[in-house]
C-alpha cells in the first residue's frame, strides 16, 4: 500500500451539498454544506462541532460517500471518492465506517446482537466461512467489552440498555476492521454515568491506530477525545484549531458561545448564553457573515461582507472580521 501520498485520509475541497426544496416549482436549495475545505490526517481525530442545522451530519455523510455533493470534491487517501471503481468503492465501504446517532434507529429491533454486528460483513461478503464470521463478531464484541461475547451475541437488541446498544453500534463498525470511523453524536443519548465508558472505548481504538471524526453539538465531549476541532455554522467552517486551544480560548464569537453554554459541575460557575436567537434555515442564509444576526459583537461590515477563513495564528483558522 502506498502510504506516503495518503497523509490525509479525508479531504474536502470547496465542498457544497445542496438539497432541493421539495415544493412544487421551487428553485430553492437548502445549502446544508456551503463551501467547506477540510482535511483529516491519518491517525488523528477531529471533532466536528455545531448546532443542529449547522450541516455537520450532512458533511459527515458526504465524506463517507452517502450523499453526493452539489459541487467540490471529496478525496479519500488523495483520490476522488466519486470516481472510485466498483471494486474500490466496495473496499472503501469496509475501510470507512460511520457510527450513527441514536442506535435505536440504526438497528432493527428484531435483530440479535450477532445479526447487527455481522450485517455489514454479510453485505460485503467478507467471510464465506461461518467460523471466521463468528470469530470476527466475537472479537468486535470483546473490543467494545460486551463480554462474554457468545452470550451477548445471542441476545436481542431490545433487551440491551442504551449504553450497551451504543456499544453494539460501535462493534458493528469495528467488526469491519476499518481504518477510519466517523461517529455522529455517539454519546449524546447516553446517561452521564456511562458516557465516559464509551469515550474511553473509542480512545482505546484511537490508540490502536484508527482515524476518527466525531460529530457533536457538545464541544465538551470532544475536548477529551480529539486533537483538532472544526466548528461549523450554517454550512460554513467558522473556526479550526487544536482542541485544547479552541476550548481555552475560542476566537470566533460562535465558538465562544458554544464554550460558554456548556454546563460545568460546579454551582459557582454558571452557563452564559452569548448567542441570541436560533440558527436560521439554510435556504436563504443571512448575507455577509452568516452568524451576524446572533453575534454579540456584530458591526455594519458583518452584514455585507463575508469573512473568509484565515490563519490568525499558527494552526488556527477563524472566519471573523474581528478575530
Amino acid at each position: 500500500m502506498n502510504v506516503e501520498s495518503t497523509r490525509n485520509v479525508f479531504e474536502a475541497q470547496d465542498l457544497r451539498v445542496y438539497f432541493r426544496v421539495k415544493a412544487r416549482g421551487s428553485k430553492l436549495f437548502v445549502r446544508a454544506v456551503d463551501g467547506v475545505d477540510l482535511s483529516v490526517e491519518r491517525n488523528t481525530s477531529v471533532g466536528l462541532v455545531g448546532e443542529s442545522g449547522s450541516g455537520k451530519t450532512t458533511l459527515g455523510k458526504t465524506l463517507v460517500g452517502l450523499i453526493k455533493p452539489y459541487s467540490g470534491r471529496v478525496l479519500f487517501e488523495g483520490r476522488d471518492l466519486y470516481r472510485l471503481s466498483r471494486q474500490e468503492m466496495k473496499d472503501f465501504r469496509r475501510r470507512v465506517q460511520m457510527v450513527y446517532q441514536d442506535p435505536f434507529d440504526a438497528i432493527d429491533p428484531l435483530y440479535s446482537v450477532y445479526d447487527a454486528v455481522a450485517e455489514g460483513m454479510r453485505i460485503l461478503r467478507l467471510y464465506s466461512d461461518k467460523q471466521q464470521m463468528d470469530e470476527a463478531v466475537y472479537r468486535a464484541l470483546e473490543t467494545v467489552r460486551l463480554t462474554p461475547p457468545q452470550e451477548y451475541a445471542a441476545r436481542r437488541i431490545t433487551s440491551l440498555s442504551g449504553g450497551q446498544r451504543q456499544r453494539v453500534a460501535v462493534a458493528r463498525s469495528v467488526a469491519m476492521n476499518p481504518e477510519a470511523m466517523i461517529l455522529d453524536e455517539p454519546v449524546s443519548m447516553l446517561d452521564a454515568s456511562v458516557r465516559g465508558e464509551v469515550i474511553k472505548l473509542m480512545s482505546d481504538l484511537k490508540l490502536a491506530g484508527k482515524t476518527f471524526m466525531m460529530i457533536t453539538h457538545d464541544i465538551a465531549t470532544v475536548k477529551f477525545f480529539t486533537e483538532r476541532i472544526v466548528v461549523m455554522y450554517l454550512g460554513k467552517v467558522v473556526e479550526v484549531g487544536d482542541s485544547l486551544d479552541i476550548i481555552s480560548e475560542p476566537l470566533h464569537p460562535y465558538s465562544q458561545a458554544l464554550v460558554a453554554a456548556v454546563p460545568v459541575p460546579d454551582p459557582e460557575h454558571k452557563v452564559q448564553s452569548l448567542a441570541k436567537g436560533e440558527i436560521p434555515n439554510a435556504v436563504l442564509p443571512p448575507p455577509g457573515c452568516r452568524f451576524h444576526p446572533r453575534c454579540p459583537i456584530a458591526q455594519e461590515v458583518c452584514k455585507t461582507e463575508e469573512p473568509l477563513l484565515r490563519e490568525v495564528r499558527k494552526g488556527r483558522f477563524v472566519a471573523c472580521h474581528f478575530a
Binding site: 448546532e51 465516559g196 469515550i199 464541544i219 453554554a261 459541575p265 452557563v271
Partner: protein, 328 residues
C-alpha cells in the same frame, strides 16, 4: 412553624408499576420537602424514578402505576386523598404545574398554539378567551417567543421555541410551583443555555418555587438551590447544592460528579462501571452496592437508612456513616 414555608411535602412516597415480569419498584420510600421560593434539582440516571416521582406528586401516573403508600402535601392540601375533579380545580395548573419530559411533543400538532392556551385555561377555570390570549401574549413575550406565534401550529416552531411555549403554558394560571422534567434535554447546548437563563429570570421575577429534573448534574448545578440524587427509585443524597458538590457523601453522587466533563480541567472524565439494577428484582442491601467502589460486607445485606450528616445534608450510605463515626 412546620408547613409554613414547606410548600411541598412528600413523605415515604412509594410507587410500583405492574409489568408482565412482575411488580417494578419505581419509587421507594422517598421523603423530601420543597421550600417556598427554592429550586429543588432532582438528578439520576434513566430509570432512577425521577419522572415517576414528579408525575406522582400530581397523580399523573400511567394506568399501570400504583401509589402504594406515602403522603404528598402541596400548598396545605393532601394530594393523595383528593378526587380527580378537586385536583383539577384546586391544584393542577393553578397551584402547581408540570412540564413533562419531551414536552415539545406534548403540544397537539393539530391545534394552534393559541388553542392550546385557551383549552388549558378553560379546563381549569372560567376565563374569557380574549383574556386568556392577552395573558398568553404577555407570557410568550416574557419567555422570548413572538406573540404572533399564537397563530402557529407546533410543528412550525423549533425545539427551543416549543420548550418556551410549554413553559409559558405552565405559567398561564399563575401557579406557585412548577415541576419541569428534563426541560433542556433534547436541545442544543446554546439553546439549553438560553432556557437556563430564562428559567433563572422567571424564578427571580415570578418568585416561583420549582422542581427541576435532569439526568445532567452539571445542568442541576446551574439552577438548583438544593439537590436530590436518586438511584434505583430511592434518594441517595439530599442537600444544599454547594454542600453536596463540595462534599458529596454517597459514592454514587461522587461517581456522577466525575462522569461529567469539566471543560476547565484537563483530566479525562470517568464513568461508573456496571448498570443500574433491575427494579423488578432489586439487589439486597444497598441498591448501589454492585457498582460501588467502596462496597463493604454490610452493604450487600443491609439497606442503609437515610440520615443527616451535619445540617440539612442527608445520605443513605453505610460508607458515609462509617466515616462519620470515625471522624467523631
Amino acid at each position: 412553624m412546620l408547613g409554613i414555608n414547606k410548600i411541598v411535602r412528600v413523605k415515604n412516597f412509594t410507587v410500583e408499576f405492574n409489568t408482565p415480569r412482575g411488580k417494578l419498584a419505581a419509587v421507594t420510600n422517598v421523603s423530601f420537602d420543597v421550600n417556598q421560593g427554592e429550586t429543588l434539582g432532582i438528578v439520576g440516571e434513566s430509570g432512577a424514578g425521577k419522572s415517576t416521582l414528579a408525575s406522582g406528586i400530581l397523580r399523573l401516573l400511567p394506568f399501570n402505576a400504583n401509589i402504594v403508600s406515602g403522603g404528598v402535601v402541596v400548598d396545605g392540601k393532601e394530594v393523595l386523598s383528593m378526587s380527580e375533579s378537586q385536583l383539577n380545580k384546586e391544584l393542577r395548573w393553578n397551584v402547581i404545574s408540570y412540564v413533562p419530559q419531551a414536552s415539545q411533543n406534548a403540544l397537539d400538532p393539530l391545534y394552534k398554539v393559541r388553542d392550546q392556551f385557551v383549552e388549558t385555561v378553560q379546563a381549569h377555570s372560567d376565563v374569557r378567551e380574549s383574556e386568556v390570549l392577552a395573558r398568553a401574549s404577555e407570557l410568550l413575550e416574557h419567555v422570548g417567543v413572538d406573540p404572533a406565534k399564537l397563530n402557529s401550529y407546533p410543528w412550525e416552531l423549533s425545539g427551543g421555541q416549543k420548550q418556551r411555549v410549554m413553559i409559558a403554558l405552565a405559567l398561564i394560571l399563575n401557579p406557585k410551583i412548577i415541576i419541569m422534567d428534563e426541560p433542556t434535554t433534547a436541545l442544543d447546548t446554546i439553546i439549553q443555555a438560553q432556557i437556563l437563563e430564562l428559567f433563572k429570570q422567571l424564578k427571580q421575577f415570578q418568585k416561583l418555587t420549582s422542581v427541576f429534573i435532569s439526568h445532567d448534574i452539571a445542568v442541576i448545578s446551574n439552577v438548583a438551590d438544593r439537590i436530590a440524587v436518586m438511584y434505583a427509585g430511592r434518594l441517595a443524597e439530599l442537600g444544599e447544592v454547594k454542600e453536596v458538590f463540595s462534599r458529596p457523601l454517597h459514592p454514587y453522587t461522587q461517581g456522577l460528579l466525575k462522569s461529567v466533563p469539566d471543560m476547565r480541567k484537563n483530566e479525562v472524565f470517568g464513568f461508573i462501571p456496571g448498570l443500574p439494577p433491575d427494579l423488578v428484582n432489586p439487589p439486597t442491601g444497598c441498591p448501589f452496592h454492585p457498582r460501588c467502589p467502596f462496597v463493604m460486607e454490610i452493604c450487600r445485606t443491609v439497606l442503609p437508612t437515610f440520615e443527616a450528616y451535619g445540617g440539612e445534608h442527608y445520605a443513605a450510605c453505610h460508607v458515609a456513616s462509617k466515616k462519620f463515626v470515625e471522624a467523631k
